[in-house]
């Protein structure tokens, strides 16, 4: 009798596991099933994206973009979130995908080197591998999908400053730390661009460093306002800096007199943007959905076309855009998506809930 109870409970438990497993398992084919007759296509090609962690809105948007693009092409997409934000958990997922025999894997890496052996094994098994958002080392990938190149970020920021100052006047940069490599690359490129004639009326008064600390960025903004009464624009290519500067401008009622722009998170910046007289009329960042989409396009092209991720190759994606494989800073190759995405009064409401 008791034995019977034990067995029944055991079976129940197995069914519970089954029941939990089934719906989750069927989401992938369902996603692929959006296009008719996808069953055959599903069996033919499956693509997977591995995020850094579950519950990361930015990553989830990337995964959503990836899934959209794969589904539109008539294939099946798998989205995998690791159990923890570790390379170890991602390796487990890669192993599972290799065992399933998927065609392509896109991964936003938690560690630049640690995924190497697992991803190499995947590539040895004929699986196409790209990294997106956060890259893996050169040996572990065929190419990297980069949000936006240094030049494009610098160009967008330079044009924003030109536009917001009205062509002439004082402006300042509020950066993160003086050693941050991406910040310095953007600032240097921006300075280089602004040597051009179109920008000759502009006067960069200072590059201030807020160290990506909110209070220090506030202090630096106040110092800038104090020292340069004619300051027209503060350009902060850091999410902490732009939020701090906007806060100061708003608190002191200087909206419209001193304008803030730069790179910022929509969720943090929404209160300083929108209709009317606001501290920040527009700013930039990447569009994570596009990052995911381009990763998907690249993988599809690698599986069905000639793309291998070698320098100089290019392909036309399903959205009609031509993407070119360029040299990346780490000696490998990358595909740059395009100019950074502009957040304006019109779209900020929609994006602030995203990330």
């Amino acid at each position: 009798m008791k034995k019977l109870i034990a067995i029944v409970l055991c079976l129940l438990m197995a069914f519970a596991a089954f029941a939990c497993a089934q719906p989750a398992a069927s989401t992938a084919p369902e996603a692929g099933g959006a296009s008719e007759g996808a069953a055959a296509a599903d069996a033919a090609q499956t693509y997977a994206v591995i995020t850094k962690s579950a519950g990361n809105p930015y990553n989830e948007r990337e995964a959503a973009g990836f899934e959209e693009a794969i589904t539109e092409a008539g294939y099946a997409a798998i989205i995998k979130h690791p159990a923890e934000i570790t390379a170890e958990a991602q390796i487990t997922l890669i192993n599972e995908l290799v065992a399933q025999g998927v065609q392509g894997i896109a991964v936003a890496a938690n560690d630049v080197d640690a995924l190497e052996t697992a991803l190499k094994a995947a590539m040895d098994a004929g699986i196409k591998v790209v990294s997106l958002d956060s890259s893996v080392n050169v040996a572990s990938r065929m190419t990297h999908i980069n949000q936006a190149g240094v030049q494009q970020v610098a160009q967008a920021l330079a044009d924003a400053v030109l536009d917001l100052t009205g062509g002439e006047g004082d402006w300042a940069i509020l950066s993160a730390t003086s050693t941050a490599s991406n910040q310095n690359a953007w600032i240097e490129a921006q300075k280089e661009i602004m040597k051009g004639d179109a920008y000759s009326g502009l006067n960069l008064v200072e590059v201030a460093y807020g160290d990506d600390e909110y209070q220090k960025s506030v202090d630096q903004t106040q110092a800038l306002l104090q020292n340069y009464p004619d300051l027209k624009v503060i350009c902060a290519p850091t999410t902490v800096g732009i939020a701090a500067a906007s806060k100061v401008i708003t608190d002191e009622g200087l909206q419209g007199k001193v304008i803030v722009t730069g790179l910022g998170l929509p969720s943090e910046m929404a209160e300083f943007m929108g209709e009317g007289n606001v501290a920040c009329p527009y700013m930039f960042l990447w569009n994570p959905i596009d990052v995911g989409r381009v990763a998907a396009y690249a993988l599809i092209e690698m599986v069905n076309g000639d793309l291998t991720g070698e320098l100089g190759q290019s392909f036309v994606a399903a959205n009609g855009t031509t993407y070119t494989v360029t040299e990346a800073g780490d000696g490998g190759t990358e595909i740059i998506i395009g100019p950074p995405f502009a957040f304006t009064a019109e779209n900020i409401e929609e994006w602030k809930t995203v990330y």
């Binding site: 519970a16 159990a83 390379a87 065992a99 399933q100």
Partner: protein, 342 residues
């Protein structure tokens, strides 16, 4: 009369416990089979030996820790510092290799570091016997990881797989069987033998059942505990070496959560956290049950968080079943004995 009935209940407890453990093994094997049949039937990719061993290797890295953890739980103690010990040992391995030491020396340092970490836990717990193992190891858990963070900061230390033999530790295979699997089996047999067939093993059970009684019976309680905690450290050192060989790069925040995984493997294996109960083969079976269940669910792309949830639910259900049975048994027996008394 009350003394008499009390004695009978104590006697039946002993007997029914024994049968519960027999059943437990049975349950566990049943669960193991169900998991495997389920996996094989829902995913056609499951029974591929190469991939299966790849997956097995990944959970064996932490599976090692369940062996000495079983000893610790039978002792009635607990060790929460294992994940941090692995992290610190692996950190030292990486740092000393990158400082120019030969890999052999770096491996030695990792083993030594692990052993010392375990020894420190043991020394504190045996010198100050009134301290609870949970509190002390909770402290050393943050201490060891803190030291690892001081050494490495947010950097990682890599290039470890450039040494071929070190890379082979984790990745080399004998046919399709990875060497780590063979090492695992050998260690499993050794640990099982010591626990069940030697005086030392019986000491462990004696201490777990009643520490005071064991001491009066002449069991060197504190020495046994010290040895067991040091053994945990040593195995953590081995685990850290496999981890480093597996990843090729080390950070201070690796191996987080290993303590809970090791403990749940042991508990699912039928060893009670209260000490003195359970046996070793159950632990080995449950290491594979949990690991393969995770792999199988991963293969059909179940969300990682959902997998953890399923494992948690299974753990609770499996731990509850024998208790239900046990309660019924004692109730029935109490009824029967009271019947004869009247």
């Amino acid at each position: 009369m009350p003394t008499k009935s009390g004695r009978t209940i104590a006697a039946t407890k002993e007997k029914s416990l024994k049968s519960v453990f027999l059943r437990w093994e049975f349950l566990l094997i049943l669960l193991f089979l169900i998991v495997n049949i389920m996996n094989a039937s829902i995913s056609k990719n499951y029974l591929n030996a190469t991939n299966l061993f790849t997956a097995i290797s990944t959970f064996l890295v932490k599976g090692f820790i369940a062996f000495p953890m079983a000893y610790i739980l039978v002792l009635g103690d607990i060790d929460l510092s294992v994940g941090s010990t692995v992290a610190l040992s692996a950190t030292l391995l990486g740092v000393s290799y990158n400082a120019g030491l030969p890999m052999g020396a770096a491996v030695g340092i990792a083993l030594l570091c692990g052993t010392l970490c375990g020894f420190l836990n043991g020394i504190i717990l045996t010198k100050f016997t009134e301290l609870a193992a949970m509190i002390v190891t909770l402290g050393t858990m943050t201490l060891y990881r803190g030291i690892a963070e001081m050494i490495l900061g947010s950097q990682s230390t890599g290039g470890l797989q450039n040494v071929t033999w070190f890379y082979d530790l984790y990745y080399a295979r004998l046919g399709t069987v990875p060497y780590i699997f063979i090492v695992f089996c050998v260690l499993a047999v050794a640990f099982g033998f010591i626990l069940h067939k030697t005086t030392f093993g019986r000491y462990i059970y004696a201490i777990g059942n009643n520490r005071l009684a064991a001491r009066y019976a002449g069991v060197p309680v504190q020495r046994v505990r010290l040895i067991c905690f040091t053994l945990v450290g040593l195995i953590c050192g081995i685990s850290s070496i496999y981890y480093a060989s597996w990843m090729g790069t080390v950070r201070y925040d690796i191996a987080t959560g290993y303590e809970l995984e090791a403990i749940s493997m042991v508990v699912l294996g039928g060893i009670s956290t209260a000490g003195g109960k359970g046996n070793f083969p159950g632990t080995v079976i449950s290491i594979f049950t949990i690991g393969l269940l995770k792999y199988g669910l991963g293969l059909i792309n179940v969300n990682s968080q959902t997998i953890l949830m399923i494992i948690g639910a299974i753990l609770i259900i499996v731990v509850t079943i024998p208790n239900l049975r046990f309660r019924k048994h004692t109730e029935k027996h109490a009824l029967a004995s009271s019947g004869t008394a009247q």
